[in-house]
Amino acid sequence: MRSDLLRRIRLAAWIAVALALTGAGVYFLLSRGPDIRTAIGGAARVGGPFDLTAHTGKPFTDQDLVGKPYALFFGFTHCPDVCPTTLLDMTHRLQELQADGDKLRVVFVTVDPEKDTEHLLKEYLKSFDRRIVGLTGTPEQVANTAKVYRAYYRKVPTSGGDYTMDHSALVYLFDAKGSFAGTIAYQESEQSQLAKLKRLLAR
């Protein structure tokens, strides 16, 4: 009778230890940057279900990304440097890929849904390749999308009650099956960007 109780206590203790170790392991993996996660897992989960609206006004979810490799990045239109530069880089790379450019989806997700309406995104994207899709939504929908892509963004106050945004400036690459396939960094050379996109399309 008593030994049975002891056995149960011991079992419960072991389960607790196992849970704690798993938790610590998961925490350790999640707290690493995307590069390390790819190095460890290869297919670590980046990306997942989201529900947004395209600059065309049509709903756009993760299901719209199925079946084609894609490049996705976060930004906002009140951004003087990184966002227009990345959009223009992607515009040039799409053109350099020539016919293969049609095999790639390029997606720009705003981190500033309060200012970046569908209409503003539509106007803004007129300066870039027409194949680039702009996505916005409610603040909650955008927060959820950033979460599934493990992207970071934060509002930073400036003068006169206005604000600017800090945000992840990496371009995330995914293959046709939706598996995370690496990143392109801000100010990476044009040759390197193109090589990565070609490799992605060849996967």
């Binding site: 003087p80 440097d81 223009l88 300066s127 003068s159 006169g160 600017t164 400036a169 960094a185």
Partner: protein
């Protein structure tokens, strides 16, 4: 003899005017080659870049400015930390120590032209002013480069100048607000 002297003055004058075509000066502050780029359609912001040199014996600060068709002017510092773009307003302005040259360039220090009502157009100079704490106000003109330009030709920015420190979070909480106009 007279004609030689004339030629001398002519050459000197042409030489000087070419050197200062895109350079401006106020007090002991030299402003070299201000430039910006045409923003995307419907954009409300543009970054302004230039090289500032304080030739004086006293420190100064870039604290504000204006530009035609622009509602608000701020001085910002951008940095990239672990793939995250961070933007900070330098509320106390951009410090220019005696003898120091500071480069405002993409990815680092820049002036933020905000609430843009008339989009700068590539090839058409954008006129404006800069305000320094001690040197005062000076009229300048930004050369407007095409959308997405990563630099502007015309001047080589030497090797000794300081640009925004990578990964620094400095700039906040240094007193006087930017002279927004």
């Amino acid at each position: 003899m007279k004609s030689t002297l004339c030629l001398f003055f002519l050459v000197t004058f042409v030489g000087l005017s070419q050197a200062s075509e895109r350079d401006f000066k106020v007090g002991s502050i030299r402003i070299v080659h201000p430039w910006t780029r045409q923003p995307p359609a419907a954009a409300k912001v543009a970054g302004g870049f230039m090289t500032l040199t304080n030739t004086g014996a006293e420190g100064d600060r870039l604290i504000g400015g204006t530009a035609i068709g622009v509602g608000r002017f701020e001085v910002h510092e951008m940095s990239m930390v672990d793939g995250v773009m961070k933007m900070r307003q330098l509320r106390a302005g951009l410090e220019l120590k005696p003898g120091e040259t500071v480069v405002l360039q993409p990815g680092g220090y820049h002036v933020m032209l905000m609430e843009v009502k008339t989009l700068p157009k590539a090839g058409v100079d954008l006129k404006g002013t800069l305000v320094f704490e001690k040197a005062g106000t000076v009229e300048i003109a930004y050369r407007v480069e095409p959308l997405g330009a990563k630099s502007s030709d015309g001047h080589d920015h030497g090797g000794t100048a300081k640009s925004a420190p990578k990964g620094s979070g400095s700039g906040s909480g240094r007193g006087a607000p930017t002279n927004a106009q």
